[in-house]
C-alpha cells in the first residue's frame, strides 16, 4: 500500500458567510499526479491553501504525510507555487539565484548558513528549469514565464516530496508550457514526486495526470483521466453549469 500524502476528510471552508468548500473528501497517494479543474471562483485556490495550512478550515481535517498540516514539522517536504507568484514587487532587488536560494532558508533553520552543497543544489535546480543564462539576472527583469520557472525552482530546491502548483502555466507560451510539462513528467516518473496541480488546461489532463478532480464547491468528479474523457460532457456540465458550452480540447 502506498502512503497517503494528502488526506482530506469532510473539509468545509467559508470566507465570512459565503461557503466556498462544502464537504470535500480527497486523497492523494504517494507518487500520484492529481489535476484539479473547475470554473473561476470554484474554490480551487482555497482548497490548495487549506491543504498547505495557509487557511484554517471551519470543519474537517487535512493530513499531510499522515500528520495534521498545522503541526507538520518538516515544511521542506512541501513545494508550492502560488497562483499569484508573479504579483511580487517587480522592483525588488534580488537575483534569480537569491530567490531560488530562499526556498531553502526555512528548512536550513535559524542560525545556519548556506553551505557549499546548498549552493550547488541551487545551481542544479536553476539548470533544471532552464534558467542557467539568467542566474544573476534581477528577477523583476525576466519575462513572466521565466519568473514562473524561477518560482518553480524555488519550490523544488528543498527536495520536496509533494509539489503543489496553482495554475503554473498561466501566461507561459506554448513551447515553454510543453517544456514545463516535460519537466513535471521527469520529476513525477523518475523521482516519484507527488504532484497536485490546479489548471484550466483540460488538454493536459489526458496526457499527463493520473487522477482528475473536478471542483465546484463540492467534488463533482474524482477519478482516472480515461474515465473523465468518457464521461466528459456530464462531468463538465455538472462542474461548469449547463449554460456554458465548453470547447473540448485534445483527442
Amino acid at each position: 500500500m502506498r502512503e497517503n500524502v494528502v488526506e482530506i476528510k469532510n473539509l468545509h471552508y467559508s470566507y465570512e458567510e459565503q461557503a466556498v468548500l462544502d464537504g470535500i473528501d480527497l486523497t492523494v497517494k504517494q507518487g500520484e499526479f492529481l489535476g484539479i479543474v473547475g470554473p473561476n471562483g470554484s474554490g480551487k485556490s482555497t482548497l490548495v491553501k487549506c491543504i498547505l495550512g495557509l487557511l484554517k478550515p471551519q470543519a474537517g481535517e487535512v493530513l499531510l504525510f499522515g500528520q495534521p498540516v498545522r503541526t507538520l514539522g518538516e515544511r521542506s517536504r512541501i513545494g508550492y507555487v502560488s497562483q499569484k507568484s508573479n504579483s511580487f514587487n517587480s522592483g525588488f532587488p534580488a537575483t534569480v539565484r537569491e530567490v531560488v536560494a530562499s526556498g531553502l532558508y526555512g528548512s536550513l533553520g535559524l542560525f545556519r548558513r548556506m553551505k557549499k552543497q546548498d549552493w550547488e543544489k541551487v545551481e542544479e535546480v536553476i539548470d533544471q528549469v532552464g534558467l542557467s543564462a539568467f542566474r544573476d539576472q534581477n528577477i523583476g527583469k525576466l519575462s513572466g514565464g521565466q519568473q514562473q520557472r524561477a518560482f518553480i525552482a524555488r519550490a523544488l530546491v528543498s527536495d520536496p516530496r509533494l509539489l503543489v502548483l496553482d495554475e503554473p502555466t498561466v501566461g507561459i507560451d506554448a513551447k515553454s508550457t510543453a517544456q514545463f510539462y516535460d519537466l513535471l513528467a521527469v520529476l513525477h516518473r523518475e523521482e516519484g514526486l507527488t504532484l497536485l496541480m490546479v489548471t484550466h488546461d483540460l488538454s493536459v489532463l489526458s496526457s499527463h495526470v493520473d487522477r482528475v478532480a473536478c471542483l465546484n464547491k463540492r467534488l463533482t468528479f474524482h477519478g482516472r483521466p480515461d474515465e473523465f474523457e468518457r464521461k466528459q460532457t456530464e462531468i463538465l456540465s455538472a462542474t461548469y453549469g449547463h449554460e456554458i458550452q465548453l470547447v473540448s480540447h485534445g483527442h
Binding site: 521542506s76 532558508y105 526555512g106 528548512s107
Partner: protein, 284 residues
Amino acid sequence: MIEMLFQFEWMRNALLAGVMIGLISPLVGVYLVVRRMSLIADALSHVTLSGVAAGLLLQKDFAWAGWLNPIYLGMVFSVIGSVFVEQLRRLYRTFQEIAIPIILSGGVGLGVVLISAANGFNVDIAGYLFGSILAVGRQELLLMAVVSGIVLLFLLIFYKELFALSFDEEHAFLTGIPRRLLNFLFIVVVALVIAASIRVVGILLVSALMTIPVAASLQFTNSFRQTCIWSVIFAQIAVLCGLFAAYYLNWASGGTIVLVSIVIFLLILLIKKSLFLFRRRKIG
C-alpha cells in the same frame, strides 16, 4: 588639515556617531524600502519625539530625573509604538500603510501636548528635531554603540530569514520561517535605530538616511546583497561629506547630511540617464 579635526573630542564623537548611524540606518532601511514600509520609520520617529518630550518634562519637574537622558524615554516610546505598528499592520493586511497616519499623528499629538504642559522647554528641542551631532556626548555615543551592536547582530543572524520574508511573506511562512516573531523583532530593531539616530539627523530627517541611500542603490543594483553594500557606501559618503561640509560652512549638520545624500541620489540618476542615452545613440 583634516587631521586637525581629530584633535577635538566633539569632532571625534561626531564622526564615530555618524559612521555608526551611517551603517545601521541604510541596512535596516533596505528592508523597510523593499517591504514598502519606509514611511513607518517616519511614524516611529514622531513617536520618539513624544518620548523625548516626556523625558524633558520629567527632567524639568523632578530633580531625580536629571540624569535620565530624554533619548532613553524616546527609545522606550519608539519601541512601544513599533509594537502598535505591527498590530495595526496585521489587522489591515491589505492596506498596511494605514498604520502610518495613525501612529504618526498620535506621536505628534502626544508630543505637542507634553511640550505645552511644560510651558515650553528651556532646552533646545530643535536639537532633537533637526539633529545636533556636534553635541553628541560620551553617554550617547555608548548608547549608539550598544544599539549598533544589537542591530548588526540581528541583521547578520537573520539575513536569510529577513530576505525570504521581505520577498514573499506567505512563501516564507510556508517554508517554516517564524513570520510573527521575526516581523516583531524587526520592527523593534527599527525603533531602536530611529531612537539612536535622532542625535545625528534629527526626528524630522531620521527616515532620510534609511531610505535615500537605498533609493540610490536601487537604481543600478541587481542583487539584494549589492543593494545592502551600496546603500551603506552611499550613507557613509553622505555622513562624512555632510559632517565636514557642515563644519566648514557652519551649516546644520543633520540637514547637510540629508542634502548630500540627495545629491548622491540625483548624481546616480543622472549617470544612469546619460549612460542610457549614450548606449541608445551608439545603437541608433
